[in-house]
């Protein structure tokens, strides 16, 4: 097997790991925004989820309990966002900023007060984390040329959350485009007045979408704290919620392209990690920051309308006010 092939496999493998939290958050944002609620609080919900997962798994050494806690914490924040944006018809963006700021402050202060480790949660033992799953025959398959290596390096050896995230893409597609709830969800994001006229509750539909976003952000947070790492560290999301938002725009609010966008941004992250200090023939060293900046830069270029047009759901960001007779 050639060395280049091996490098590509490793890069793809680490791109998958890095794109999973983006994918969870991106799909979370997709449910919320397709229903007409702008969600720039993905970052905060993921952060509080990561904290809840790390804290719980350190007390109850069971990753599933950690995941449950992450989902509950994130949904709680989502409900605050929903209450402000749907019930109170407040500014959805301001509500999202509040969620992010609150999560960043609360995780740091509670983490420090409860665990006395400068905001970290205690290092988790292996049994309290989602460990890597080696798929059947992964080792023996290595003997098969090309496919064997791909199977052993890239497809096998991820935690259950990675496979879950990937399965979520077709599932989300199915829910959005092939179920009644999905149709209504999309309708409420495009034309809530029509949904209301049809006798459906705009409020209930939007709340269900916001809760869905909370659940998925909880998964993303749990992945960061108890699958990818062995505990929560301060500000562990480090802007991933915003990259996910960028990916959502990049994917034009569609589930399958969301997978592509998240993988692309994950790959850029993986490449940025690998090229540090590497000199390329003819170019010399490429600054890491140039690659780190690419997701943001690409999103701005896309938003500017130079590579296709990203049209958001029509009613996104607009609180729905039922007409009074």
């Amino acid at each position: 097997m050639s060395e280049a092939f091996q490098i590509i496999l490793l890069a793809v493998d680490s791109a998958i790991r890095l794109s999973v939290p983006l994918l969870f958050a991106c799909l979370a944002g997709l449910y919320s925004e397709r229903a007409g609620v702008v969600d720039i609080g993905l970052e905060g919900k993921m952060l509080i989820g990561a904290f809840a997962a790390g804290a719980t798994a350190s007390l109850v050494p069971n990753p599933w309990m950690g995941l449950l806690a992450a989902v509950l914490a994130s949904v709680l924040f989502a409900l605050v966002h929903g209450f402000a944006s749907i019930t109170q018809r407040g500014n959805q963006i301001v509500a999202g900023v509040a969620i992010n700021v609150l999560a960043s402050g609360l995780t740091a202060i509670l983490g420090n007060a409860w665990f006395n480790q400068g905001g970290r949660t205690p290092q988790l033992p292996s049994g309290a984390r989602f460990n890597e799953i080696v798929l059947p025959f992964a080792e023996s398959a290595r003997a098969i040329p090309v496919f064997g290596a791909i199977y052993a390096e890239v497809i096998s050896g991820h935690s259950v959350l990675v496979y879950g995230a990937l399965a979520l893409v077709p599932l989300t597609w199915f829910i959005l485009y092939r179920t009644r709830w999905g149709l209504r969800l999309r309708a409420v994001g495009e034309n809530p007045a029509a949904v209301d006229t049809a006798g459906l509750s705009v409020t209930a539909l939007r709340y269900s979408a916001v809760i869905m976003a909370g659940i998925l952000c909880g998964f993303g947070g749990a992945y960061l704290a108890i699958a990818q790492s062995a505990g929560f560290i301060t500000d562990m999301t480090a802007g991933k919620g915003f990259i996910a938002l960028a990916a959502l725009i990049f994917a034009k609010w569609r589930p399958v392209p969301a997978l592509g966008a998240c993988f692309l941004f994950g790959l850029l992250d993986a490449v940025a990690l690998r090229i540090q200090g590497v000199s390329f023939p003819g170019i010399g060293q490429v600054p890491v920051q140039a690659i780190q900046a690419l997701p943001y830069l690409l999103t701005v270029v896309l938003l500017a309308g130079f590579i296709g047009k990203a049209t958001p759901p029509r009613a996104v960001g607009v609180p729905y006010l039922k007409e009074r007779s």
Partner: protein, 368 residues
């Protein structure tokens, strides 16, 4: 009998005060949750922030930055836009000031210093130019583009500070020191010119700039033709068109002013205190600006008061973290979050109830 609008003092005075009080109550609960006494914490904070010349100096030094970033958010709000990119624009303001200070060190200070301040404002404005243009002429949402530009500014600054602009021989990501003519005098130095003795704190001349900026923003928004156009576009862009105002043009102008104000935040930290460009010097001041602008309801007077409150919180919070290690400095971020939530997103939650209470006492129906 038809309901008439509630009086201004109720909506612009009582309602915001109730909102902020609820935010502080929520923060107090968090302090109680981690097993400390909220009232004692409040006392330590107030004493630390206002109880000495030293504390007061630090409080006003923090206030300076928040006035600039708060005004920045408010000017954009008046035009109907949410400039969430104050953080990045302030970082670029620091870069602008540093570029002037480092490239023209031979100039005498009466020329160099104003150029440095101008550099900060222009660089801040330049950083919002692309998002503003895209919002105005291509409809790209300013919130998303300015978030992206925050990250771009942060990565650009890291690149420059570990690469081309790094001081030779230093391990830290920082530039060389500016010449003395490119730095603002500290307040205690200025007091000494008049024979007064003040404790040395980071409080510097930029505090005066911030107050002047607040007055100028008030004049701009409520006493000039441009300000009228900005408020018209913010209130109703369609009506603005009929009034002969171009919403796109006004959007760009308002956002440039907003970015310039955010950039001026760097005069406090970079020209006033550091005397060199360092990484992450904004320390979240751009986001505090959002809370400050919401709390001050977009009015410069309210913004100065709200900035002062956050100045008290930052300085008092530092003292509190020193006295009570369990209540770390992040407590300020929690309070900030609650303020943004209750004074921003849930702004009208208590308004109806307060209006109906008022109605019961005033004896006439009002609507909030």
């Amino acid at each position: 009998m038809s309901a008439r609008p509630a009086p201004l003092w109720l909506i612009a005075g009582v309602v915001p005060l109730v909102n902020v009080a609820v935010a502080f109550l929520a923060a107090g609960l968090v302090i109680a949750l981690i097993g400390e006494n909220p009232l004692e914490a409040l006392q330590i904070m107030l004493r630390g922030a206002l109880g000495s010349q030293y504390g007061l100096g630090y409080t006003l030094y923090y206030t300076t930055s928040f006035i600039f970033t708060g005004l920045a958010v408010a000017v954009a709000f008046h035009a109907g836009h949410f400039n969430i990119g104050g953080e990045g624009q302030a970082l670029m303001g620091g870069l602008g000031a540093a570029l002037v200070a480092l490239s023209l060190p031979f100039l005498p200070w009466p020329i160099l210093l104003p150029l440095c301040v101008l550099g900060a404002a222009l660089a801040g404005a330049a950083w919002v130019l692309i998002p503003a243009y895209l919002q105005a002429y291509r409809g790209s949402h300013i919130v998303i583009t300015t978030i992206m530009f925050n990250f771009l500014a942060a990565t650009l600054l890291v690149y420059l500070l570990v690469g081309p602009m790094k001081m030779a021989g230093s391990m830290a990501p920082e530039t060389a020191r500016f010449v003395p003519g490119a730095t603002l005098p500290l307040m205690n130095q200025m007091a000494a010119w008049f024979g007064l003795t003040l404790t040395r704190t980071p409080l510097n001349l930029s505090f005066v700039f911030a107050i002047l900026a607040a007055i100028m923003v008030w004049v701009l928004i409520w006493r000039t033709r441009l300000g009228y156009a900005i408020r018209t576009v913010g209130a109703n862009p369609d009506a603005a068109v009929y009034a002969g105002i171009s919403p796109a043009r006004i959007t760009v102008i308002a956002l440039l002013i907003s970015g310039g104000l955010a950039g001026l935040m760097a005069t406090n930290e970079i020209l006033g205190v550091q005397g060199r460009l360092i990484n992450e010097f904004t320390a979240g001041a751009g986001f505090v600006g959002i809370a400050v602008a919401l709390m001050g309801r977009g009015h410069p007077f309210g913004i100065v008061l709200a900035a002062l409150l956050f100045g008290v919180l930052y300085q008092g919070g530092a003292e509190l973290a020193f006295d009570k290690p369990k209540i770390t400095r992040e407590m300020i971020i929690v309070i900030q979050g609650f303020v943004i939530l209750f004074a921003g997103a849930l702004e009208m939650m208590f308004a109806d109830r307060i209006a109906s209470l008022y109605q019961r006492f005033a004896g006439q129906p009002v609507s909030a």
